[in-house]
Amino acid sequence: MISMKSQAGDFLILDKATGTYRENPEQVVRDDVEKHYWLHVGRTILKDWRLYLMLVPTILVFLFWRYLPMYELLGSFKVDDSVKPVADQFFKGFSNFKGLLVGSGTYAELSSNFWRALRNTFLLSFYGLCFGFPMPIILALFFNEIRSDIVRSTYQVFTYLPKFMSTVVMTSLVTMLIKQGASASNTPPGIISQALAGLGLISQEVAQKGLLNNPQFFRAIYQISGIWETAGYDSIVFFAAIIAISPTSYEAAQIDGANKWAQMRYVVLPSILSTIVIMLITRIGSMLSIGYEKVLLLSEGRVAAYQTAEVVSTFSWRIKSNQSGLASAAEMMNNVIGMLLVIGANTIARKASNVSLY
């Protein structure tokens, strides 16, 4: 007879065909998973080995070129200045950090350079937040005003274009357009320097000496070329949020007598606020990861400009060959602050998206 009470929980069930009891396979599997977890893992992987094999290249690429460098960061605890394997020098203490932060004695100059680099990193990001961040939003609002699809997409294509050019091309163009003039052959400076001098924004002598050599202008050059590079492309996200607004919202506002500014204030802005908040927080989170390539290419060899152009990554890059421990320590501090910013920003985002949206 078949046991009517038979459940998955029973260890033995009655086999209909033979009339004998045998092990309940479901219970065996569950038991196996609980008692021999790693055996179960091994069996699952063996059974499905193709899937796990597919993951191997990804894991190797990230392990070798993303995670092993993090291990190299431990070099910040070593004292030796040469480029040696971390393992040989492992953990000699915090003297590198102390040297950079406090900077007494032989470290004095190095430490002041480090603080300067940290301040420059912060300021470049901060100005980017003030000037670079609003620009794509403004562009998206304006794009929305253009009703003709052909005209609008033409404008959009033009503004996206710089995003796809390499950093070398961008910085070479910037360098050439604001290059210094040569007083010997009496050749004038680059065309943009001339235009700025003509408008009276800078003096003729300053233009002649080259804007990139002048620490006063590095931040402006960095921000303006940054807007040129990314504002158009970054506007895509905001534009997508704006065109998602239902036309009935505008109609309702118009019936209520709202003019264009009121419509902006009460219809458009609230609708794209969540996108703005998300993008803002992403931006704050990446505040300390300034693109080293652009800074290096714009400032390399122009020692005078380091006053404003030296950021933490370029600072450590320049000292790496004979002070690799200090260079790693500088990057380590930059990265830890950077990660705290990311985590902080994410936490705020999670809370803010609940508060500000509903």
Partner: protein, 296 residues
Amino acid sequence: MKRKLEISELIFKIISYVFLTVFALLCLYPFLYAVSAAISGRHAVEYSEIILFPKDVQFDAFRYMFSSNEFWNAYSNTLFLTIYGTVWSLFVAILGGYALSKKRLLFRKFFNFFLVFTMWFAAGIVPQYLNYLATKDVFNSMGIMDDKWLVVIAMGMAAMNIILLRNAFENVPSEIEEAAIVDGASEMQVLSKVFIPMSKSTIATVALFFAISRWNGYFWARQMISNANEQPLQVFIRNKLEQYTDLEQLATWTENYAADSVIFALIVCSIIPILIIYPFIQKYFAKGANAGGVKE
């Protein structure tokens, strides 16, 4: 009331058109200037007489560029890195994205975190460089002797692209996959016959990002490739800019082009391939840009 409404809208519309026209032209201007300066005569370039249109047109700067072996060398090196680099990155990303898209994958959460963490925390350039020095010998002993191949397999991967592919694969209806399995398709066949054709546009987007980042790659190619003849075009351009004074001497008074024209000609040559494919890849932009807001 009605009239006031129209005025404010009209003003805003005018501001929009004016602002966008100016902005779009400013975005284009440096490129137009580069073309004009590359084909203008020596005097016009050196005394900055060009504003927009070329003057005393010459093509000798281009001719000088095209006659140099180094230039073609750099160009073919860039093609090498772009083609093999894109294929390799796409291969890794498609397999990884496919595996991660499967709910049955053990430790799926851990592997996802493994990728996402690299977007939060990057070691930085010095540790990356030291790691490169430390692992170079390992790869050399594995038979990857060529610096170019090391650049191909080491660089150009981004967690974002794998996540984009993973999300696309997750959106493929499971019924279709099950039907293929019932028909006896193997894992590899399911991927190549079902998942890849159904995620074509995402794969194209990701391939585009890989290709552009490879074409534009500069810094690590310069650090990792020791043989000057194997350097890509971007490094070549940068070297020319750094050796600006040499160029000035080379373009002696007997030549009718300025040193600047050579650099501008190089820049134009390096962006032409991007400009050619640009109209075809446009439709993928929105997809890539909106991927930034993608969930983990």
